[in-house]
Symmetry: C2
Amino acid sequence: MKLKSFEHFNCSLAQTLSVIGEHWNMLIIRDAFFGLRRFDQFQKNLGIARNVLSDRLKKLVKAGVLAKSDGPGHAEYRLTQKGLALQPIMIAMTHWGDTYMPHPEGKRLTFIDRANGKPIKTVGVYSADGKLLKPKEIMTKTGPGLRDEQA
Amino acid sequence: MKLKSFEHFNCSLAQTLSVIGEHWNMLIIRDAFFGLRRFDQFQKNLGIARNVLSDRLKKLVKAGVLAKSDGPGHAEYRLTQKGLALQPIMIAMTHWGDTYMPHPEGKRLTFIDRANGKPIKTVGVYSADGKLLKPKEIMTKTGPGLRDEQA
DNA sequence: AATTTAAGTTTTATAATAAGACTATACTGA
DNA sequence: TCAGTATAGTCTTATTATAAAACTTAAATT
């Protein structure tokens, strides 16, 4: 049957998944972070079927993550502000894969602070005063946008 | 045709997606963070079809994200260390959804430091000395685990 | 022994995906 | 100008994945 969409959950995580949760989307977004902008660049780099890429780019534009513009003789897709804001997610996911599903020869990619060439801090959960928190040191509080539906 | 799996990409992000990228997986993991442990708890809370839940729990156990144990008269699924390490991703995704696809009445969930009741810092990318970095202030360096395949 | 609870599996109809062929449009060089 | 090429798609077909509900199995309860 139809793949259940998460859009109608009143849940911030499900909302996010409705945009980036589809197969390929996060890899397309990563490629956009690495500077790819054109249909065929994405297609060749990922090996994605053209119709699927076409559909995903359309959806990502509609969701406001990418913006389409006309370059000289070709279309261009660039990350919007909303798309750029996905960077912590992208980096956290890359870091988790590097740590828990490592390549035998070592790290694949390191993210660097352009200003000083030093690696960035591990993406993690930090307390207001900057201490790295462990999973069980964190709890949740419900806000006005949530009644007794799902979190 | 067969859904292309990302397992064989030499890419940390694709590796992560091969574990958490499937439909429902991240919501199952979130529910596990919120303390759910049993088949029917997940099933009822998410409204997921039973066969799909069965398959996903099996895969998450196989991937080492959840561990299955026998409780009194029922099975239990708990996050492993590897699963707990997904928390920054989960929180970053929740935060993005809250910011860019907000509920009209306000925040749905806030994450709190258990020690002092204060909200955690925004999950983001920080420099070695603790400054919040903008997307374009970050670059990447390839490591030994990466030849000239994809990032 | 019969009922209930829990955790799945099976079945069936529908929807999504991959692969490659095909199309439309604009640019390029002779 | 006109053939050729690059780019960005769309269309077709076969296959695979999903959802929903009914069914099964096993243990605990009454």
